[in-house]
Amino acid sequence: MTLTVNGQQEQFPDGLTVRGLLAHLGITAERVAVEVNLRVVKRAEHPELRLSDGDKIEVVTFVGGG
């Protein structure tokens, strides 16, 4: 299926959960937050929320700021 992750369209295996996507991308879930189609996904939901073709996902973290 096609997902847009942080603005980039790419192909991913069908049926991935959020946790699965993060694992696929090699991201440890601890210090990122995930938004799917403009809705924040709480960490507890990561193992359950299954992604669908066309979903727009944002994976964010903290960076330096003032």
């Binding site: 938004e35 944002e58 994976v59 964010v60 973290t61 903290f62 330096g64 700021g65 003032g66």
Partner: protein, 256 residues
């Protein structure tokens, strides 16, 4: 009895809020943080760089005892800012946010109307909201009425280093709201921070003044002392101002 700053349910003995931007590297940032004695640290929320696996995670360089204050820097609408706060809460596991809805990329002044809109939403969603705002007593009052835990008027434009451009407005804000007043943005050097506290402000948030000093660690130490000095001077009750004064040495007993 400790002189504590209370923001919502949080309490801090340091009145300096420090940033994490513009440092040469994370080690320099950590050293400045330590010298500053700050207990609150601002961070920004950005997309993870998916290509840059293994990049040094900034959070590893922030002392665990410091409270995170995620900002919404770069947001130009209430909607973006609310969304950013929701993501930040997931990340920080905390409820404090620095609400910052900008009106303009060049001056980085806040948009009062959008900030108010966002604040009303965020308070309802349970955030402890610290909004960056103009030095406008009415905007500050409306933010307080909306349930913000503090107000953070600017001293001068972000990154300008001009110090408190309008102490009159800051004084009026201090008379107008009951929540803590944290001066945010525009501080350039130690005396600027001291002046904020002397006016009666409850704290100062700064980033560039420390990060862009030639020696950030020494400037962080200067800021720590300046903020303590300003607070103590405020509490000590300064002498009155006069056009001319009185001799410090007695007039009696002059030799003949």
């Amino acid at each position: 009895m400790a002189d504590l700053l209370k923001i919502g349910k949080h309490e801090f003995s340091s009145r300096l809020f420090i940033g994490t931007g513009k440092y040469k590297d994370f080690a320099a940032m950590k050293a400045a943080h330590q010298a500053s004695g700050a207990q609150v640290v601002t961070v920004a929320v950005r997309r993870l760089d998916l290509k840059a696996q293994g990049e040094a995670a900034m959070l590893n360089w922030i002392d665990k005892s410091m409270a995170l204050l995620p900002n919404t820097a770069g947001c130009y609408t209430a909607e973006e800012a609310v969304r950013t706060c929701q993501l930040a809460r997931e990340l920080s596991m905390g409820d404090m946010v620095k609400l910052e809805v900008l009106g303009d990329q060049k001056t980085l002044f806040p948009d009062v109307e959008e900030t108010l809109k966002a604040a009303r939403v965020l308070v309802k969603e349970g955030f402890t909201v610290l909004p960056y705002i103009t030095d406008d007593p009415i905007a500050c009052k409306k933010l307080e009425d909306a349930g913000c835990a503090a107000v953070m008027p600017l001293a001068a434009p972000i990154g300008s280093g001009l110090g408190i451009r309008n102490p009159y407005n800051i004084r009026i804000i201090l008379e107008t709201v009951k929540v803590p007043v944290i001066v945010d943005a525009g501080v350039g050097t130690a005396s600027d921070a001291a002046i904020a506290l002397e006016l009666g402000c409850h704290g100062v948030l700064m980033n560039t003044a420390i990060a862009a000093a030639k020696d950030p660690v020494l400037m962080a130490s200067a800021m720590k002392k300046a903020i303590e000095a300003g607070r103590e001077a405020f509490l000590a009750g300064r002498m009155p101002r006069k056009l001319y004064g009185n001799a410090s040495s007695p007039l009696d007993g002059m030799i003949g």
